[in-house]
Symmetry: none
Subunit: 250 residues, 2 copies
DNA sequence: TTTTATTTTGCGTTTATTTGCATGTTTGTG
DNA sequence: CACAAACATGCAAATAAACGCAAAATAAAA
């Protein structure tokens, strides 16, 4: 393995895990501890990590570009996605749009599940390649690369002829009073349409998104049927439950 | 082998494999390690790679490596894809369907290219995520997982309102007499439609696909404008050239 | 085509990196 | 304080890179 390659791996691991232990790294990367120490020393000199006795710490907040986001096993999101699984029944028609949490959800779907998935997100479609009993219907449109979803008039029109049992809505921002919102007009329009053609709507929301808002409003938050979150503050939960949303937490 | 050609191969390999070892390259390209080192030094100076001790790393964002990594014909396909690049002009409307060769092609498109890409293949769309000046229009439909393309009535209907300058048709089987064929009815229908709305059609074909056929015929082979292949048998080439196809080989 | 000029390549030699190990020192912890 | 784990330092082996030079290949000119 190349030295720089190994150091990049260390940085990636650190990005995922906050801290690393030198002896661990030695095993995981199968090089001697001396080599790891030398790596850590170099990375520390470049201020890419903070060296401490027996290991190293991450400097600054975790980086979240799209690709590392996909690789990073964000445990919280995995947990949320895992809780969502129980709402999936055989032969359901699922409507799934973009977002990393939705991608986690799809990756956890059992390979044997029989269902139909409608999506406007290429990554979601790709993740279902090996689910032989899931029929995937892609909605076309203009690819919006930041969220990796197809948007536009055709997207909305295609949705006209469809109905779904359960819509897994990717959430950017949600506020109990203001509603579900995000920074892109076209994306809001598509989500609104998706909500309209679905029987039930489920949203997985990490607590950092709760009670935040952006400029384009999709709909009031009470369109949601289920809200899965890691936030356990009783007053926050009550806020949504009072809107007839069934809130699922730990 | 010419120097430029070899350096392009190095870039292709690097694109595919994220890193290269100088001594490996020396063997794979059958030149001395000194030559490889000189190549790497030049490419590094142009910022096309990142030189490190004992090898080099890829610069820029990762590419979509969706299909099985160590494909036997991978290098040949990259060569074919590379030859296809010259037919792409600024501000063109490209229509691209599925296939590994097409994916290789897309991965080799310069990040600065201005163009519009229409595709029914999610992997192609994903591969264009970092091409900030390429507008991607996805055609929806039912995902056919073997080829990873969207198919069906909606797919064909969506294509009705579109026109493309150049269609990169993924080829399963082609025979000079029987035509272009494949084993799936719906896919054949979509390809036929795509051919109908395109000004020119380009096909990249490895020699093992030449003069083979399957049960669903897309069209006669003479719809092609360009045929890029690694087959250099003069009689085979003449077969296609006699159909007014411009054949590009080594 | 033949000849000439230029570029590219391979080899021997020298120099530099990287890695693991041995040895002695420091640090954290009970 | 004791003691193990972690660390720094120096060293040697293995690889890899840099350099100069001559042979070979390619391009250009006659």
């Amino acid at each position: 393995m190349l030295k720089q390659e190994r150091q990049q791996k260390i940085l990636n691991i650190l990005n995922d895990e906050q801290k690393v232990i030198a002896s661990d790294l030695s095993q995981r990367l199968s090089v001697s501890e001396d080599t790891i120490r030398r790596d850590l020393k170099e990375l520390d000199k470049k201020d890419l990590i903070r060296r401490v006795h027996s290991g190293a710490l991450r400097v600054g907040p975790p980086v979240v570009d799209f690709y590392t986001r996909q690789q990073v096993k964000s445990e919280i999101k995995m947990d949320l996605a895992n809780k969502a699984l129980e709402f999936v029944k055989e032969n359901m028609v699922l409507l799934i749009d973009g977002g990393t949490t939705n991608l986690h959800f799809v990756n956890q779907l059992p390979l044997t599940l029989k269902a139909t998935v409608i999506t406007n997100s290429p990554p979601i479609a790709m993740a279902l390649k090996n689910h032989n009993h899931i029929e995937v219907i892609m909605i076309g449109g203009t690819l919006f690369k930041e969220s990796m979803v197809n948007l536009g008039i055709e997207t909305v029109e295609s949705l006209n002829n469809m109905r779904a049992d359960l819509y897994l809505m990717g959430i950017h921002k949600i506020d109990a009073n203001i509603g579900i919102s995000l920074p892109n007009l076209a994306e809001a329009a598509v989500k609104r349409k998706m909500a309209a053609i679905s029987n039930e709507i489920l949203a997985m929301v990490t607590s950092d998104k709760l009670n935040t808002f952006s400029n384009h409003i999709v709909s009031p938050s009470n369109v949601l049927t289920y809200l899965i979150t890691d936030n356990i503050q009783p007053d926050v939960i009550r806020l949504y439950e009072s809107q007839q949303i069934s809130v699922i937490t730990e």
